[in-house]
Every structure is written in structure tokens, then in C-alpha cells.
């Protein structure tokens, strides 16, 4: 390259210099112009000028006026023209600028390459290295210190408790912002028409959501959330109904058809699986040992096992239980924060989601000749226990967090093996219990008795069914009664043709499905009590029927599941053997059923 050959051509260089200077000047001018133009365009958006909108306004007032119409059109044309010319100007300006700068750069580079910049050496002494070095160090320290001080200052100045704010705000649930979300939902374009969750329950103010505002929602899930899970015996509210969908209708334990997995449960227990999110909770117990299991719903792995022992006040003697009840009959419950279990000897324990004990106590050995079997249920952050035993029968509400008693209401009833039901009547939440001699209704938050009705007798085993304001109670050697709940409960109809002493009935808005322990299914009109059909499966049934997707799932003691259409006419949709006996009630998630057999827990999916 020519710099190596020395001999720079001065005139060329001068020429180049002039060009570069010229292009530099040109570039600067262009810059100014562009900026000015930009500002102009920015200031007046030609596409919606006040003049334009005013004219359109006028036109709409008297549509007949052709002259205004013309004006509008001309103005519109002008506006567009102006807009596009402005754009054109900017673009061409930009390109010109680019070219001129290109010119500038290339000239300068050319000069650089042609003309050897003669090194200005030799000059005075070389830079003083060590002194500089010390200086550098100093400066580094200074700037470091400066940076530190500056940031620290900033840090102190900035308000620094957003974290707390969010916490507190999160705790005081009221969906104030979203309350009026109903409006403006639907003009969001296609596909977004599903009303928002927060919004939907604000539209139809169910008592739950409305009273939500009074109680901090931080430490419990909303009723909606509960209904998305399967947190207690016979599903949310314990009335044998699940809203889960895509439920399998055929499987076979022997061939393994549709059996996703099966897991052996170490200790026996007649309690039914309960589910929160992806986790299933079970308990098992022998005379001496009591355990709680958490199982991964996807894999069937036992995630943790928690041994229930060292509970102070726990009686040393073994409770007398019948074989059919066992030591772990009551199902567990959970609100997604802790899981709660109770055992035949009155041991009650709360575990966190990792199986660590949060609190535990003993409610005193229940005086119960078959063994305690009433399952637990949860409302908000209150753990509700039906403790109907010979001495001092009562229902009590415990704080889920601490286990302290929130309320206790003693009941003048005989021993009951039924489990509580928790229903939303549309006006209030009602806690419903069944035991000789009455079906009684309590406020789940305070334990206050709302009503009671003498209509049942004997050793009550079946829990209650509920639908559309009607409570159904049944017991063997007693009778089946439909009670309209509310301020003034009354018996709508009674019947004692078919009765049950273990399986609980389920009801839809229109039908009641009753199952006798001998395995006869009966369907009544829920409102009138007229019998639609009956069907004998021939095998005794202990597990309670579940209602899902308009089908009734009934499993007999041998583990054969009968799937029936929940309708006016009897129609069998399926008959699926588990290949293992079972006393337990199935649990459901979307697309899956979980069945506890005598030894194993099964996951059934499509």
C-alpha cells in the first residue's frame, strides 16, 4: 500500500480533505433539517387535526350538506399528502445524510491510509510508570468509594418496603379493582370471551365471595379454589359431587387397561383419597402404628410418609374397632396449606405440605364401639370435626394454623359414623350433620346451630346428600327424608322402601340416587320423591357413589365400578373391575379417577 512506498500525493490529499469538509458541513445541515422536519411532523399529526374532526362533526350534524362533505374530502387528501411528503422528506434526508457521512468517512480513511502519520517520537521521557500506577490505584479506590457512597445514598433514599406493602395488600383480598371487571371484558377481540374468574364470582355475588371481604383470604383458598380440588371425603363440601371433567368410563384392573399406575399403601385404612393439586393424601393405621401418606398424582410415587406418634395425651390402649371400620376410617382434609388427619384413638394431626408436623393433639379416646369414622372437612381456615360419641358428642371448629379451638357446639345426639357436609345454599354456607335423632345445620364459621329437624334414628352411617336447597338424609331401619333447608326447614317427602346403612346418597337438581348396602341403586325425583327406577347390582356396596359429568360412579365391595347415567331412565354406561376389593370412595381430578383398594391406590386415566 502506498504509505509504505512513502511519497504522499499532497494534492490528492488536499482534494480529499476538501471533500470531507464539504460533506461534513452538508451532513450537519441535513441533520438540522431532518430534526426540524421531525419536530414539525411530531407537533401536528396530519391524520387527526382538530380542523378535520371539527368538519366531520359538522357533517354528522347535517349529513345533507354536500359542501362540507367536499371540504372534508379535500382536507383529508391534503392531510394524507402532507403526511406522506413529510415521511418522504425524512427518508430521503436520511439517505442523503448517510451518503454524505459515508463520503466523509471514506475520505478521511483514504487520507489516513495514504498519508503516513509520522510518529511524534522521540519526545521527553516515557510516562512515569510507577507514579501512574499508584495514582491509578488511588483513583480506583476513590471511585469505588464514590460508587459505594452514591449507591448507598440512593438505597437509603428509595422507599424500601414495597415487599411489605405487597404482602399486606395480598392479604386483604377484596377484589376491589377487579370488582367491575364485568364491563370492558368483551371488547377485547376474539377468543377472550371467557369471563374472568375474579369477575365471574363478582357478577353473581355468591355469599362466599361477598363475605370474602370480611375475612382475610390470605390463609385459606376461596371456595372456587376448593371446588377445583378434591379436598375431603366425597369431594368438595362432602356431598358426593365433583365438577371435574373428562372422567374415564372404562378400565380393567387385571389387564391394566387405563390403569395409569398403582401403588401399594403400607398400612391399611378405609379412608378415601383426598387431593390438592397434584398430590393425594391418605392415611393408614394398625393397632400400634399410624401413618399419613402423600402421593404424587402423576407418577404414583409416595412423596412422603409421616408417622403419627409422640402426641401427648394419646391413649396407650388400643381403641376397640370393628374390622369393617378399622383404625383409619376418617378421610383426611386439606386447604392446600396443611393436611389434617384423625385416627380411631382420637389422635388429630396437622402436617405441612412436606409432611412436617405443624401441630397435633388428642381429642380423647372416642367412646365408639365400631370405631370413629367421621371424616374431617375444612371451611376457610377452620378445621371442622364431627365428634359424635357416647360421652359428650360435639362438633368443633379448630384453627387450621394452630389447632386452637375456634368454636365447639355440644350436640344432644347418639353416636354417628356419618361425615359432615358443607353446602352453599346461595344465601349462606351451611354445615350439615346427621345423627340420631336429627339432621342439624350449623354456621361453619361460628358453630351456631341454625336449625335441626328430628327425622332420623339408629346408628347413622350414611352421610347427607344435598342439591338445590334440599338435604337428603337416610339410615337403615329409619327412613329416607328430603328436607328443604333454609330459615324454616321442613320435610318435603319421606320414604323407607330402600335404605342404606353405609353408602351415602347423592343428588342432582332433579334426581336423588340412593344406594343400599346390599347393592341396590334407586333413583327418586329429588323434589317429589317419586321413584323413577331401581337396579340391583347383586354385590354389597360400602363405598359411597360419586356424581361426575352426569354419571354416577358406584363401586361395590369387590371393587367393580358401575357407571350409570344420572337420568330418569336406568342405563349402565360401564362396569369396570378393579381386581381388588374396596371400601373407599373414589376421588377425581380432570381426566383421572383415584381408587383405594384394600391394599393399593390406583390411578385411572384415559
Amino acid at each position: 500500500m502506498n504509505m509504505k512506498t512513502g511519497k504522499p500525493q499532497f494534492n490528492t490529499i488536499r482534494l480529499l480533505e476538501n471533500i470531507s469538509i464539504g460533506s461534513a458541513v452538508f451532513a450537519v445541515v441535513l441533520c438540522v433539517l431532518i430534526i426540524v422536519n421531525y419536530i414539525q411532523v411530531k407537533r401536528a399529526d396530519p391524520l387527526n387535526t382538530p380542523a378535520m374532526s371539527a368538519l366531520v362533526e359538522k357533517l354528522q350534524n347535517d349529513p345533507g350538506n354536500e359542501q362540507i362533505r367536499q371540504e372534508v374530502r379535500t382536507l383529508d387528501l391534503l392531510a394524507r399528502k402532507a403526511f406522506f411528503t413529510a415521511q418522504w422528506q425524512v427518508r430521503t434526508g436520511g439517505y442523503l445524510l448517510f451518503i454524505s457521512i459515508l463520503l466523509l468517512v471514506s475520505c478521511v480513511k483514504a487520507i489516513e491510509l495514504m498519508q503516513v502519520k509520522l510518529p511524534d517520537a522521540p519526545y521527553g521521557k516515557p510516562a512515569l510508570f510507577w507514579e501512574n500506577r499508584i495514582l491509578k490505584r488511588r483513583w480506583l479506590v476513590y471511585s469505588g468509594a464514590g460508587l459505594f457512597v452514591l449507591t448507598l445514598l440512593l438505597a437509603w433514599l428509595t422507599h424500601n418496603d414495597m415487599g411489605k406493602d405487597l404482602e399486606t395488600a395480598g392479604n386483604r383480598e377484596p377484589q376491589s379493582v377487579n370488582r367491575d371487571a364485568g364491563s370492558g371484558i368483551r371488547d377485547q377481540g376474539p377468543g377472550n370471551q371467557k369471563p374472568a374468574a375474579g369477575n365471574s364470582d363478582s357478577v353473581k355475588a355468591s355469599p362466599d365471595s361477598s363475605s370474602n371481604i370480611l375475612h382475610p383470604a390470605s390463609d385459606y383458598p376461596s371456595w372456587q379454589e376448593v371446588k377445583l380440588n378434591f379436598p375431603s371425603f366425597r369431594g368438595p363440601g362432602g356431598i358426593g359431587i365433583t365438577e371435574r371433567t373428562n372422567i374415564p368410563t372404562s378400565w380393567d384392573g387385571k389387564s391394566g387397561k387405563n390403569i395409569k399406575w398403582k401403588t401399594a399403601i403400607p398400612l391399611p385404612g378405609n379412608n378415601s383419597p383426598v387431593i390438592w393439586n397434584d398430590r393425594i393424601y391418605l392415611s393408614g393405621a394398625s393397632e400400634s402404628k399410624r401413618e399419613v401418606y402423600c402421593i404424587d398424582a402423576l407418577s404414583g410415587k409416595i412423596l412422603w410418609t409421616s408417622t403419627v406418634d409422640k402426641i401427648q395425651g394419646s391413649p396407650s390402649q388400643v381403641p376397640g374397632v370393628s374390622k369393617e371400620t378399622g383404625f383409619a376410617a376418617p378421610s383426611l382434609t386439606t386447604e392446600g396449606i396443611r393436611v389434617y388427619a384423625i385416627f380411631a384413638n382420637g389422635d388429630l394431626i396437622a402436617l405441612d405440605m412436606d409432611g412436617k408436623k405443624v401441630w397435633a393433639k388428642n381429642l380423647g379416646m372416642p367412646a365408639n364401639h365400631y370405631g370413629h369414622s367421621s371424616s374431617l372437612i375444612m371451611y376457610r381456615n377452620i378445621l371442622i370435626i364431627q365428634y359424635d360419641q357416647r360421652s359428650g358428642p360435639a362438633v368443633m371448629g379448630l384453627s387450621g394454623k394452630t389447632g386452637e379451638q375456634v368454636w365447639k357446639t355440644s350436640r344432644n345426639v347418639k353416636i354417628s359414623w356419618a361425615s359432615p357436609a358443607l353446602v352453599n345454599t346461595g344465601k349462606r354456607m351451611e354445615l350439615l350433620l346427621s345423627a340420631e335423632p336429627c339432621v342439624a345445620c350449623y354456621d361453619p364459621l361460628t358453630g351456631k346451630e341454625l336449625w335441626k329437624l328430628d327425622c332420623i334414628s339408629g346408628e347413622v352411617g350414611p352421610s347427607l346428600a344435598y342439591a338445590k336447597g334440599i338435604v337428603f338424609s337416610v339410615n337403615e331401619y329409619s327412613n329416607l327424608s328430603a328436607i328443604s333447608t333454609g330459615e324454616t326447614p321442613k320435610v318435603l317427602w319421606e320414604n323407607n322402601e330402600y335404605l342404606s346403612d353405609v353408602p351415602s346418597p347423592v343428588a342432582t337438581d332433579k334426581y336423588l340416587f340412593l344406594l343400599t348396602s346390599y347393592g341396590t341403586a334407586v333413583c327418586y325425583d329429588a323434589a317429589a320423591g317419586t321413584k323413577y327406577w331401581e337396579h340391583d347390582f347383586g354385590n354389597p356396596v360400602y363405598s359411597s357413589p360419586m356424581l361426575a359429568e352426569g354419571r354416577v360412579y358406584i363401586m361395590d365391595k369387590k371393587g367393580v365400578m358401575y357407571i350409570i347415567k344420572a337420568g330418569k331412565e336406568f342405563s349402565m354406561l360401564g362396569q369396570c373391575p378393579l381386581g381388588e376389593g374396596s371400601f373407599c370412595t373414589p376421588a377425581f381430578t380432570n381426566g383421572h379417577i383415584f381408587l383405594r383398594g384394600d391394599k393399593n391406590l390406583y390411578c385411572i386415566g384415559k
Binding site: D45, G182, S183, I185, R186, D187, K204, D509, K510
Partner: protein, 321 residues
């Protein structure tokens, strides 16, 4: 010296760059809310309140899961039908009986005797006052979707969205003739019904009116199917019918004027028998945005019952005085 200036200049510029970055990154300013291209929905939904000549008297909350159709019967009792059932209310809004049936009622009408004609998707079922099933017609076609029914002394008129036609039937369900299908000879333009809202009603003299929503017009046919008259214009302005296809429902008052309801811009308005805009019954602000299917009924006192499927209410409007 010269060097110094250059260096300082360079540094200053560099610092400017860095400061710009920092400010832009950490400034807590809210995002710019100005939208030069905003489509002012609010503007459209605003209405001149002086036009509003009616006031909401009572609001009835049926307990049905979904409500789709409302009608007025003897003694001005209000019948509302929806999913799997029907409910009856007194003019004051007290519950006055109910009964259930399978399916989703899409329209409802009553005859003189008080028998209840319910259109269920593709067929009609007839019940007596107490809900005893009297007769069940056979399905018109698998594609049928009956969106409106009217009962005259001798005939039943049905609007079928699926077939885009109107049936004239005998009370026993026998089809006599179809009305309103495209026919250049009789210069009948034919029904353009883009959305499943296709209403018809009988005038006080028993003449048949049908809402040709795609054309934003109400058309009057005689029983043989000749088109006698039509009125209505498309416009978002208050005196026209807005959107793609309106009025979604209408009813006829005793003096022959029309009560119409629209979707898109939810509003209930009254037009004179000739089709001039008279007044507003309920402005858009009275409804949740996006509400569709405001079925209408009129009782003998010319009270207007609006079925609000979104709020699940029956809203009774009366003239202000």
C-alpha cells in the same frame, strides 16, 4: 490544551449517553397512555338522556341456570324460559310457579288458553299452565334453531335461524307454508340473518312482523308470504340499528309502535308504527358491555319486560310520567 478540550468534549458526550440510559432505565414514569388511534367506545355508548322516556320499575331474578326467552300471559303474568325449565312470575315479580323440562328453551309464547309453546332448538313442545306436557312436535330439521315463536288465534309462527325462514304452522305442528324466502318475482329480498337472533312478532291486528337483521329492517308479511312493508335503517346513531345485524329482538305495543333491542350497542328503543324513532327505553349504560339476546315482552299495560341474560334478570320498564 487543544487535546484537553477534545477529551472533555468526548467525555461529556459519553456521560450524556450513560445518563440517558440510566434515567430511561430507572425512571419510575408510567407508560405513555396517550393513544392517537383510540377508538372511543364510550362516545358511542353515550346517549342523550333526554331521549330516555322509560324507567326501570322492578327487577326479577329467576333461579334458572340460563334464561333465554320471556313472554307475557293472561293476567300479565311473566313467563321466562331457559335451561331445563320455566318460571312464572306475577306482574309484581313474585314467583308464581315453575316447572322443568329437558333442553334449552330458545323461545316461548302463550296461546289464549294459556298453554305454553316452547321452542327447544329444533322442535316445539307445548305444556299446560302447570307444566304438564301436552304435545311435542317433531323436529323441523337437524339444522333448525328456532329463535322466535308467535301464536295467533289459528296459527303458530316460528322463526328458524338455521333455515333462515319463517314457518306458519297449525297448532298440531303441521307446516302450512314458509314465509320470507328470497323470491325476486314477489320482490322479497330474503332474510340475511348473520347471527342467531331472528325475531318475529304479531301486531295487534295479528299481522306478522319479522326482523331481517342483516338488512337492519323489520318486514311485514301477510300469511301467504307477500311482503307488504318494511322499515329500518343501519346506523350506529340512536335512530338506526347498529352493528352487523339488528334489531336482535322486538315487540309491539298496544298502539302498534315497536320496541326494539340491539346488541353491539346494547339499547332498547321505541319506534312509531311507521318506523320513526320515538324514544329510548334503556340506554347502553344500563347493560353490561357485550350483552346479547335482550329478549322483549310487552304486557297489557304496555310495560316492557327486558330479559337480561348477562345479569340473569327480568327488568320491567314503565313510562316515566
Amino acid at each position: 490544551m487543544k487535546q484537553k478540550i477534545f477529551i472533555v468534549a468526548g467525555l461529556v458526550l459519553l456521560m450524556i449517553v450513560i445518563v440517558i440510559m440510566l434515567l430511561d432505565l430507572f425512571s419510575a414514569k408510567k407508560a405513555d397512555q396517550s393513544n392517537p388511534y383510540d377508538y372511543k367506545m364510550g362516545e358511542i355508548r353515550k346517549t342523550d338522556s333526554t331521549h330516555i322516556a322509560y324507567a326501570e320499575l322492578i327487577t326479577i331474578k329467576p333461579s334458572l341456570e340460563e334464561i333465554h326467552a320471556v313472554a307475557c300471559g293472561a293476567g300479565d303474568r311473566i313467563y321466562v324460559a331457559g335451561k331445563n325449565g320455566l318460571e312464572i312470575f306475577t306482574p309484581e315479580g313474585k314467583s308464581d310457579g315453575n316447572f322443568g323440562f329437558e333442553g334449552i328453551a330458545s323461545c316461548i309464547a302463550l296461546d289464549k288458553k294459556g298453554n305454553i309453546f316452547i321452542g327447544l332448538q329444533d322442535h316445539v313442545e307445548i305444556f299446560d299452565q302447570l307444566g304438564k306436557p301436552l304435545r311435542k312436535w317433531k323436529s323441523f330439521s337437524s339444522e333448525s334453531l328456532l329463535t322466535s315463536i308467535a301464536v295467533s288465534d289459528s296459527y303458530i309462527f316460528l322463526a328458524d335461524f338455521g333455515k333462515k325462514t319463517v314457518y306458519r304452522c297449525m297448532p298440531d305442528g303441521r307446516l302450512i307454508n314458509r314465509i320470507g324466502e328470497k323470491d325476486p318475482e314477489k320482490n322479497i329480498p330474503g332474510f340475511i340473518i348473520p347471527s342467531p337472533y331472528f325475531d318475529l312478532a304479531l301486531g295487534k291486528k295479528g299481522e306478522l312482523w319479522v326482523a331481517n337483521t342483516g338488512r337492519h329492517s323489520l318486514e311485514q308479511f301477510s300469511n301467504d308470504g307477500t311482503l307488504n312493508s318494511a322499515w329500518g335503517e343501519a346506523s350506529m346513531a340512536i335512530d338506526g340499528f347498529c352493528g352487523c345485524c339488528n334489531p336482535s329482538h322486538f315487540a309491539i305495543l298496544s298502539n302498534g309502535s315497536f320496541v326494539t333491542s340491539e346488541k353491539g350497542i346494547e339499547r332498547v328503543k321505541i319506534y312509531s308504527p311507521k318506523g320513526e324513532f320515538l324514544c329510548i327505553v334503556a340506554p347502553p349504560s344500563a347493560f353490561i358491555e357485550g350483552t346479547r339476546g335482550l329478549d322483549l315482552a310487552v304486557d297489557s299495560k304496555d310495560r316492557i319486560i327486558v330479559l337480561d341474560p348477562e345479569k340473569k334478570q327480568l327488568r320491567v320498564f314503565v313510562k316515566k310520567n
